[in-house]
Symmetry: C2
Subunit: 194 residues, 2 copies
């Protein structure tokens, strides 16, 4: 069974272990082994236990990614217009390994729209019609779901992105887009192996 690393701010939820059980059950239903950042990594060297917790966790997550065939990222916007940066770091890490990366999000508005909403009142139009923020930094407008490195990596790696519009109160619980993403990853990985 193929291992898929489940990147996302889900580890910050009130019951992160319970959440991991739910995500893994959906993966199992589609024939995949979901790997949570909270799992003990397979071969963590003993000396890692002496590291500061932040460094040990970072190395364990990197080891999990290297030991997985693909990555599925929860890209639901997190404390700002973009996805959680820890999740995006891991997406970039897996992309560099040349393996497929998938994403899902419970926010349907595109990146430009979300950024303009975030900047309420501070966004301005530049001379050429493009948008910039109150400090004159451009607002990306490529029609992407998030920064173009994220959309680019997902498409160019052979992965795919699933977006659902979910009411704000269900943003961290609704899993329909996740399940569609898992199903697509399972199908893609079957082809990958043949």
């Amino acid at each position: 069974m193929m291992r898929v690393y489940l990147a996302g701010p889900d580890v910050f939820l009130p019951d992160p272990h319970g959440r991991a059980v739910v995500l893994k059950a959906i993966c199992a239903r589609h024939g995949l082994v979901g790997i949570s950042p909270l799992d003990d990594p397979p071969d963590a060297p003993a000396h890692w236990s002496a590291l500061p917790p932040a460094h040990r966790i970072a190395l364990c997550n990197e080891a999990h990614i290297r030991a997985s065939t693909a990555l599925i990222a929860n890209l639901t916007p997190f404390r700002g217009p973009s996805a959680d940066v820890g999740t995006v770091f891991e997406l970039g890490y897996m992309r560099a390994l040349g393996r497929p990366v998938f994403g899902w999000s419970n926010a349907a508005a595109d990146f430009t729209t979300r950024t303009l909403t975030f900047l309420t009142g501070q966004a301005k139009r530049a001379g050429d019609g493009s948008w910039c923020d109150g400090e004159d930094l451009t607002v990306e407008a490529f029609g992407c779901a998030d920064n173009l490195m994220i959309d680019g990596a997902i498409v160019m790696s052979g992965g795919s992105l699933f977006i659902a519009e979910v009411p704000p109160t269900r943003r961290w619980t609704e899993l329909a887009a996740f399940e569609r993403c898992v199903a697509a990853a399972a199908a893609a990985l079957r082809d990958f192996v043949r």
Copy 2:
């Protein structure tokens, strides 16, 4: 001369090409070749020109990273408590290649403090004394400068992080922390090659 990829939201500044010239001049002063995301990549295949701009730019940036010995990231917080996600994607990408990653930031407050400031009025204390946001998602509190994947990658790769406290109006112009970071990278890469 060693090539160092300059990741950062600097590409969103009003004069990104002028900014790249300034950053490259500082690199040159320290014996490094600064590579800007705006540079033409050395060996872009002809068929990339037919891709949508977002995908072409993403592939060009990835090619630049693969062709560089190290990466220096501008981690100054960008539209929220964390660094720009495009920058962090690239940091993760270079980290997976096993090469040193460096960072600098013009915000001195640590990640927990910045997140609590961002959440003004919505942050709450959980039963165990830890902080969470209005949706009950935990606030990271490891004493890091940003998400632990970022701090972890910089330290564990042999890189280093330079932080300056800069008045808000000079956040996108002040380059003292950048220059200290370039000097450290130049020294580390000299050792790396020996």
